[in-house]
Amino acid sequence: MSTGTAAPGTLRLPDKAGVLGAVRRGGWTLGIYLVLLGLIIYTWILNPRYGLDTLAMAALPLAFAAAAQAVVVISGGIDLSVGAMMALTSVTAAVLMKDASPEAAVGILILVLLLGIAVGMVNGALVVITRVPDIVVTLAMAYVWAGTALLVLDRPGGGAADWVKDIVKGNVFDLVPRATIILLVVVGVVWLPLRRSRLGLSLYALGSDPLAAFRSGVSVRRTKIASYAICGFFAAAGGLALVGTTGIGTPTTGDYTLKAVAAIVLGGVSLSGGRGGLLGPIAAAYVLAIIRADLVFMGVDPNYSTMIQGGIMVLVVMVAAYLELRRRRR
C-alpha cells in the first residue's frame, strides 16, 4: 500500500479486507447459532414440553446487556457499568410505572430509554474528558450508578403496567417467542441502519485502530461518546426487560456486567476491538440461558450451573485463543 492520499480508497480498504475476515467472523457466529440449535433440540429431547418463550424471557435481559457491551467493545472500549445502568433504569421504570396508566407507561418506557442514553453519554464523556482508561472510568461509574439505583429504590419493588409484562410473554402464532421478536426488533431498528451508516463505520474503525481512524477523519471523541450512548440505550432496554420479565424493579441486578462480557466473547467479539457483531453475542446469551435450563432438566444441582457455564467459557476462549495463535504463526 502506497502512502498515498486517496481518502475514498482508505475508506474502502477495510471493507475489502473484511471479506476474508467476514468468512471467519461469519463462521464463528454461524457456529454459535448451530450450538444454540443443537442445545434447543437437546432440550426438547429432555423435555418435549419446554417452550421457547421461557428461554426467550430468561435470556432477554442478558441479551440486551450483551448487545450493550458488544457495541462498546467493538469500538475499542469496555463498559463495566452495564449491570449498574440496568439496575438504575429498571428501578426508575418500576417506580414511575407503579401506579401509572397503561398509556403513561408508553411515555415512561421512552423516558427510561432516553435516561439510558444520557447515562451512557456521561460515561463516554468522562472517558473522553479525563483520558482515563475506559475500564477504570466505567469501574468507577459502576459504583456511582449502582448507588444512584439504590437511592431511587432501596429494595426490590415498584411495578409494571400489565401490557409491559404481557408483551414479553408467550409466542406469536405459537411459534416465535414474543421476547425474541422484541429483541430482534429493538436491536434491528437501532443497529442495522447504524452499522451501515457513517457512524457505524467509525465505530469499527475506532475499535480496530484509533490512530488510523483519526487520520481517516473519524471524530474520535464524538464516536467514543456515541458508542457509550448506544451502550446506555441497550442497557436501558435490558433494565426494562428486567422489569417486564419480573414485574418489579431490582436495585441490585446480579452480575450482568461480567455475564455480558462472557456473552460477547462467546459471541465472537474481539476484546481488542474492531471485530464482531451483535448477532453472535445475542445467540451466546441464549446459549448461556439454555445451558442453565438444561442442567435443571437433567437434575443437576443448580449450583453446578455457574461452574459449568464458567468452564464452558474457559474452554471456548482457550480454543479460540489457540486457533488465533496458530493463524498468526502461519
Binding site: 482515563v132 469501574l139 432501596d154
Partner: protein, 333 residues
C-alpha cells in the same frame, strides 16, 4: 540520563523544573497520596473529634490488610499489563477451604491445602494467559466464575465436617499484640517488604515491568514472556489465598462469598495508587496507600452515617477523580 539533564538545564531551567516536578510526581505518586490520606484522617478527626486514637489506627490497619494483600495481586499482574478478576473468588476459596479442612486435618495442613489450592488456580490463570494468550480479563473472569460456582458445591461436600475459622488464623489476623499492635502486621510487613524490594531489585521484578512496558521489546531481549506471566498469576493466586485467610481472621467468619465485595476495591486501590492499567508503570507502595485511603474513606462514611448508596457514589467519584488527576499529570509531561 544525567548527561541530557546536564545539557538542557542551563537553557530552560524553569521549564525543566516544572517538568522534573511532573516526572517526580509520575514516578513517585506516593507523596500526594499520603497527603490525601492525611487529609481524610484529618477530616475524620474534625467530623468526630477524638476518634483518631491508637486503637483506631490499629483497627484501620487490621481491616485494610486483606484489601492491601489483594491489591498486591492486582499490582503484580497489572504491571505486566494484565488484571486478575479471580482474586475475590480465590480468596473466598482459600478462606473457606482452610476453615473446613482444618477441622479434619488440623490447622497447619488445612491452611497449606488452602494456599496450595489458591496457587493452583493462579497457575491455571497463568497457563491460559501465558501459553494460550487468552486475554487476562476474560481468563481470570471465567476462572473466577468457575470458582464461584465450585464453592457452593464444595460447601455441600464438606457440610459434615463443618467450617470454623482456624484459631491460628483468627489470632494472626484478628488479634493484637500488647493490646494495640495488630498481629496482621507481622504477616503483612514481610510480604510487603518482599514485594517492594523484589519489584525494585530482583531480576524477576524488573521483568514484570519490562513485559508490561513493551512486550515485543522484552521478547527480543530474550525474556521468556510465558514464564514471567505464569509465575505472576501463580503468585497472584497465592497472595489472594493469603488475603482470604486474612479476611476470615479479621471478620472471624468463613463463608463462601466472603471476599466478593473486595474485587472491585482491589482494582480501585491499585488504580488510586498510580499503577498504570496498561502495565509497565507503578509500584506496590502506592497500592498500599490506596488500600488505606479506601479503608479510611469507608470509616469516614460510617461516622457520617452515610447510607450505603451515598457511600458507593462517593467511592466511585474518588476513584475517578484520583485517576483523572493522575492521568493529567502523567500525560502532559
Amino acid at each position: 540520563m544525567t548527561t541530557s539533564q546536564g545539557t538542557s538545564m542551563p537553557t530552560q531551567s524553569s521549564l525543566l523544573s516544572a517538568g522534573a516536578w511532573r516526572r517526580r510526581l509520575r514516578d513517585q505518586p506516593v507523596i500526594p497520596l499520603i497527603l490525601l490520606l492525611a487529609a481524610l484522617v484529618l477530616l475524620l478527626q474534625i467530623v468526630q473529634p477524638g476518634i483518631v486514637k491508637a486503637d483506631w489506627v490499629s483497627s484501620t490497619i487490621k481491616f485494610a490488610t486483606p484489601l492491601a494483600i489483594l491489591a498486591a495481586c492486582q499490582t503484580l499482574v497489572m504491571l505486566t499489563g494484565g488484571i486478575d478478576l479471580s482474586v475475590a473468588a480465590v480468596a473466598s476459596l482459600a478462606g473457606y477451604v482452610a476453615a473446613s479442612q482444618s477441622t479434619t486435618f488440623g490447622e497447619p495442613i488445612g491452611i497449606a491445602i488452602a494456599l496450595g489450592a489458591a496457587t493452583l488456580v493462579g497457575l491455571v490463570n497463568g497457563l491460559g494467559i501465558g501459553f494460550l494468550r487468552v486475554q487476562p480479563l476474560i481468563m481470570t473472569l471465567a476462572i473466577g466464575l468457575v470458582m464461584g460456582g465450585f464453592l457452593p458445591i464444595y460447601q455441600v461436600l464438606v457440610v459434615s465436617s463443618g467450617a470454623a475459622v482456624p484459631v491460628l488464623i483468627g489470632g494472626l489476623f484478628g488479634g493484637t499484640t500488647i493490646g494495640i499492635v495488630p498481629n496482621s502486621l507481622f504477616v503483612f510487613l514481610p510480604i510487603a517488604a518482599l514485594i517492594l524490594f523484589g519489584l525494585r531489585r530482583f531480576g524477576y521484578g524488573r521483568l514484570l515491568y519490562a513485559v508490561g512496558d513493551n512486550e515485543s521489546a522484552a521478547r527480543l531481549a530474550g525474556v521468556r514472556i510465558r514464564a514471567v506471566l505464569v509465575v505472576a498469576y501463580a503468585i497472584s493466586g497465592l497472595l489472594a489465598g493469603v488475603a482470604g485467610l486474612a479476611l476470615t481472621g479479621v471478620s472471624s467468619a468463613a463463608t463462601i462469598a466472603l471476599a466478593d465485595p473486595y474485587l472491585l476495591p482491589s482494582v480501585a486501590a491499585v488504580v488510586i495508587g498510580g499503577t498504570s492499567i496498561f502495565g509497565g508503570r507503578g509500584g506496590y507502595l502506592g497500592s498500599i496507600i490506596g488500600a488505606l485511603i479506601l479503608t479510611v474513606l469507608v470509616s469516614l462514611m460510617t461516622v457520617l452515617k452515610a447510607p450505603q448508596e451515598v457511600r458507593q457514589i462517593v467511592f466511585g467519584a474518588i476513584i475517578l477523580v484520583v485517576a483523572a488527576a493522575y492521568t493529567r499529570v502523567t500525560s502532559e509531561s
